[in-house]
């Protein structure tokens, strides 16, 4: 498409030099800046707290540090073939021509681009090739599609798939030699990323055009499973992993399969559609796949606006039409729709006049020499049309503030706050103790003795209650688990019943149709209603179950609150209030969008229905097909719901346990103090040692006070970070 002529556009300025030119206006903040500020502050705080909190906190702190340092925001760029996904990524990262693009579907491999400032990975590019088993499965026509068609008409191997697999196998042999299978299972690593390297591993290459004699380079794309590219200089503020995918709706079925499998866990999806055919049925099908993934995770980018006959006028119309269609299809979702052109965005790195010349001359030189596709641009030279990239960046940043990443940061901050507060409570109790003892000692020895005894007694009582608290937390967990356990079996049987009913009624309908001699030529079983019913029932059942959990929380928390406030009069923690993270936040409906037999193209069904069977047999088989497809989906949904609730319970328990272990370690420290204080009582010390001890005492109190000051400061900082994160979300909620 000429989109991909980096040498042409940039006068040979190739990719090796990683100068990130800002693709957006320079005054704008890079993507993820607000979240990055929170992340940096949290990281700084973590190193301040290092060694400050007791041993009990170490595993929690380590986990928090790992999450903060390693977790990147995953952004997947998806869409149909030739929608311009790769061009979009190239423009977003300010590197036109980095990833190879072409006029034919060209991206064959799911590749992850890892952007993180200042950290140099050992290798810049890692390509994982298929394992022997995976390749065998692919080469034999494995995968979901084969499985589904097998289920429908056993032994019937679709010619198309067979032909494609044969092409792929023989192509691999031609490209890589007869012994290419020896390469399988390996990972290829490289120090530098070059366009040639990327072309070798992730470009599909021309079918049948390569003769092998032209160059020594070998194309590995057919046997490459995934590509990881590491960049130590990032155009983004927050650590981001961009995922480029081969397009869906690819007649090359194998590639379509690979893409679908890669769509599991990104935080944000950028859905690229072509302005020329915005939101076709295939796009909508794909959106349904993402629908389960929550409303604040999808941005629709209508690409290639430069190819509209009249970009200025049509852009508005197209955008409005897409918004309308989305509202109609997904009434509850709010999906930002941005229209633009990644190609124009890529050109934006040049001077405006160069853009105009380039465009005009390309068209003039064209043999079919029609009028320019965008006369408005050619005439004015500079693109008056927004290329949409700045809007996309803004949308991504806002979405990140509401994403699982933001929630994660919030949870980390919340958990740290609990830790610091309970530690601070312990420290102030310790401080009080030391001061009392110090006072007592000054008056006389017998008074000290008495104080120590009193202290020991109260400490024992405190410890007992702390243990009791810990025990009731454990009991609470058991109760949660029991609630979830009973809830999930109810949910499972409810959903299973829906599947069985639907399967039975479809089977009956088919049998009746056959008996009545109704034409079965164009007969199809539409499972959309079943999907919808399952979705409704699932969400309702989940809400009920979640409410049960909430009820348990609401019943138990006030009791525990009383216990804790007795233990720690000065404690102001929030652990005993229900966490703010929404329960359904991480619930996924993705399994509902799994491709099932019923989704197959009509021509496969024709084969099935042609088979000579009685009407009853046909009905029975249909029933089994539906059950076999949907019962596993039900299991997966229930499993997801349980995971989601368990995660919540675990998070609550983590915070609760942080408190009790903080309390217990405080007890430990005070006991040590007592032992030190009691020492002189056992053997009468001389004056010198008394002086020394007094110095030590003062130093200990001093240290304790310093520690308290740090903890209070950390508390404040954490409070600020949390407020900041909350306000980012609120700000987004209003948008």
């Amino acid at each position: 498409m000429g989109f991909e002529a980096p040498s042409q556009l940039h006068g040979g300025d190739r990719v090796q030099s990683f100068n990130f030119r800002p693709a957006r206006q320079p005054c704008e903040e890079p993507i993820g800046a607000p979240l990055e500020r929170a992340r940096v502050r949290l990281a700084a705080l973590l190193s301040d707290l290092d060694g400050m909190l007791g041993e009990h906190a170490t595993p929690l702190l380590q986990e928090a540090r790992r999450q903060i340092e390693e977790r990147a925001c995953r952004i997947a760029v998806i869409g149909q073939i030739k929608a311009g996904k790769t061009t979009f990524i190239n423009t977003l990262i300010g590197q036109p021509g980095l990833l190879p693009t072409d006029i034919n579907p060209w991206t064959a491999v799911v590749s992850a681009l890892h952007f993180r400032d200042g950290r140099k990975a050992e290798h810049s590019a890692v390509f994982q090739l298929f394992s022997v088993d995976e390749w065998k499965q692919i080469a034999k026509g494995g995968g979901r599609l084969r499985e589904l068609t097998e289920r429908l008409v056993p032994g019937f191997q679709p010619d198309l798939l067979r032909a494609q697999l044969e092409v792929m196998r023989s192509r691999s042999e031609r490209r890589l030699g007869a012994k290419f299978e020896q390469l399988l299972g390996k990972a290829h690593r490289f120090k530098e990323i070059t366009p040639e390297l990327l072309a070798d591993y992730i470009s599909a290459g021309d079918p049948g055009l390569e003769s092998g004699s032209e160059s020594d380079r070998r194309n590995y794309s057919d046997i490459t499973r995934s590509a990881d590219l590491y960049f130590h200089e990032s155009p983004f503020a927050f650590p981001i992993t961009l995922i480029d995918t081969p397009g869906t709706n690819d007649p090359f079925l194998v590639r379509d399969e690979i893409t679908r499998r890669s769509l599991e866990n990104p935080d944000i999806y950028i859905f690229v559609v072509s302005a020329l055919q915005p939101l076709s049925a295939a796009d909508i099908a794909m959106m349904r796949l993402l629908n389960g993934l929550h409303k604040d995770r999808i941005v629709v980018f209508i690409n290639r606006v430069d190819q509209l006959a009249n970009p200025m006028l049509d852009a508005t119309v197209v955008r409005r039409a897409v918004k309308k269609r989305l509202r109609l299809e997904f009434p509850t979702l709010h999906i930002p729709v941005i229209i633009g052109s990644a190609w124009l965005g890529g050109l934006g790195n040049q001077t405006p006049s160069a853009v105009g010349d380039e465009t005009a001359s390309t068209f003039a030189a064209h043999p079919m020499g029609v009028e320019p596709a965008f006369p408005a641009l050619a005439a004015r030279g500079a693109p008056a049309l927004s290329n949409g990239m700045a809007e996309v960046s803004e949308a991504i940043t806002h979405m990140m503030c509401n994403s699982t990443i933001a929630v994660l940061l919030q949870q980390i901050a919340g958990c740290l706050l609990e830790l610091v507060r309970s530690d601070q409570a312990g420290v102030s109790a310790q401080l009080r103790q030391m001061q009392t003892l110090f006072e007592a000692e000054r008056t006389e020895a017998s008074a000290l003795q008495k104080k120590i005894e009193e202290e020991e007694k109260s400490l024992a009582a405190f410890e007992q209650r702390a243990h009791a608290l810990q025990a009731s937390f454990t009991e609470m967990q058991t109760h949660f688990n029991r609630t979830i356990e009973s809830g999930q079996s109810t949910m499972r049987s409810e959903l299973r019943a829906i599947v069985r009913d639907f399967a039975q009624s479809s089977a009956d309908r088919l049998a009746v149709a056959i008996e009545n001699g109704v034409s079965t030529k164009s007969w199809r079983c539409n499972v959309m209603p079943l999907r919808n019913d399952l979705e409704t029932a699932y969400l309702a059942a989940f809400e009920e179950l979640a409410n049960d959990v909430l009820r348990v929380e609401q019943f138990l928390y006030p009791h525990l609150q009383v216990i804790v406030s007795n233990l720690l009069p000065g404690y102001r923690g929030t652990v005993l209030e229900a966490p703010i993270a929404p329960l359904a936040g991480s619930l996924s409906l993705a399994p509902l969008s799994d491709k099932v037999t019923m989704d197959l193209e009509t021509h496969w069904w024709t084969h099935w229905i042609k088979a000579r069977r009685s009407a009853e047999d046909h009905g029975n088989q249909l029933r089994l097909l539906i059950e076999n497809d949907f019962l596993p989906i039900v299991d997966q949904l229930v499993g997801d719901a349980v995971d989601c609730l368990c995660e919540r319970v675990e998070y609550t328990m983590q915070r609760a346990n942080a408190i009790t272990s903080g309390l217990l370690s405080g007890v430990e420290q005070r006991r040590e103090n007592l032992a030190v204080e009691a020492a002189p009582l056992k053997g009468a010390g001389d004056a010198q040692s008394a002086v020394r001890r007094e110095h030590e005492q003062v130093a200990r109190i001093q240290k304790c006070m310093e520690r308290q000051a740090t903890l209070i400061a950390s508390c404040e900082e954490l409070g600020n970070i949390l407020t900041g994160l909350n306000s980012l979300q609120v700000e987004n909620g209003r948008r």
């Binding site: 000429g2 049948g208 709706n249 190819q307 030189a365 079919m368 029609v370």
Partner: protein, 248 residues
């Protein structure tokens, strides 16, 4: 664009005589041509090209959603066939705005070209409308020649393949795949490479894969053979397939 298409016809691509003259005088009825494809794949643009003038309105977003039959008539007329089969005169504005409802539009033109063929421009597929799919399928069944348009900018998707394979083989035998919008590609060799991909991925399912400029020649051929099939073309297609596909 229409102009370009037609100017190119006689000299550049073929030596074929102008369409009308090449049709045998003995033709009893005009060749029935159905143009189908997904939204914005250039169907109406192509139809206008074949008609030689901007007869059918091309609009980017709003579509009538009705198949339009373009045939010869003594005078220019636009007729709407209602659901009950009755016919009334209408205007493009009314048809586009959906004021008048019906199942088909008939556009009669006193054009000499239309003595050779009768065109059906079908509504764009790809929005998942089952009824539209069914109607287009039945239109294709009655055609002598089915022209499937695929846009060079996003050529030959699985959804197109899916629809095409849902047609009976006998209908597919009458199919020609046309690569539209090749003029919007930015590099010369691109069109060749897209055509190469089409040949390897769709070659088996069509009589022939062509660019718009080659169509009039094909139409003429279809007219002379009456059956709408081109056995000699088929052999050519088979021989141009990539080795892996031969015999598959």
């Amino acid at each position: 664009m229409t102009q370009v298409l037609l100017q190119q016809l006689p000299d550049e691509r073929t030596n074929a005589k102008p369409l009308v003259h090449s049709l045998p005088a003995t033709s009893r009825r005009p060749v029935r041509v159905v143009i189908a494809g997904e939204c914005n794949s250039g169907k109406t643009w192509l139809a206008n090209g074949l008609l030689g003038s901007q007869v059918l309105p091309t609009s980017f977003v709003t579509r009538t959603g009705l198949p339009t039959v373009v045939e010869f008539g003594a005078s220019s007329r636009l007729v709407l066939e209602r659901h009950d089969g009755s016919r009334v005169a209408t205007t493009w504005e009314d048809a586009e705005s959906g004021v008048s409802r019906g199942r088909r539009l008939y556009c009669r033109l006193p054009s000499a070209r239309l003595k050779g063929f009768r065109l059906v421009d079908t509504p764009g597929l790809g929005d998942g409308d089952e009824g539209k799919l069914r109607r287009t399928r039945s239109l294709c069944r009655t055609a002598d020649l089915v022209i499937w348009c695929t846009s060079a900018l996003q050529a030959w998707k699985a959804s197109e393949l899916g629809f095409w394979l849902s047609l009976p083989p006998a209908v597919r035998d009458k199919g020609v795949l046309v690569l539209t919008f090749a003029d919007m590609l930015r590099q010369d060799q691109d069109a060749t490479r897209v055509l190469a991909r089409l040949q390897s991925e769709a070659g088996l399912h069509f009589q022939k894969i062509v660019v718009p400029a080659q169509l009039p020649e094909l139409l003429a051929l279809a007219g002379s053979e009456r059956t709408g099939r081109f056995p000699q073309e088929r052999a050519a297609v088979a021989s141009s397939l990539s080795p892996a596909y031969v015999g598959a």
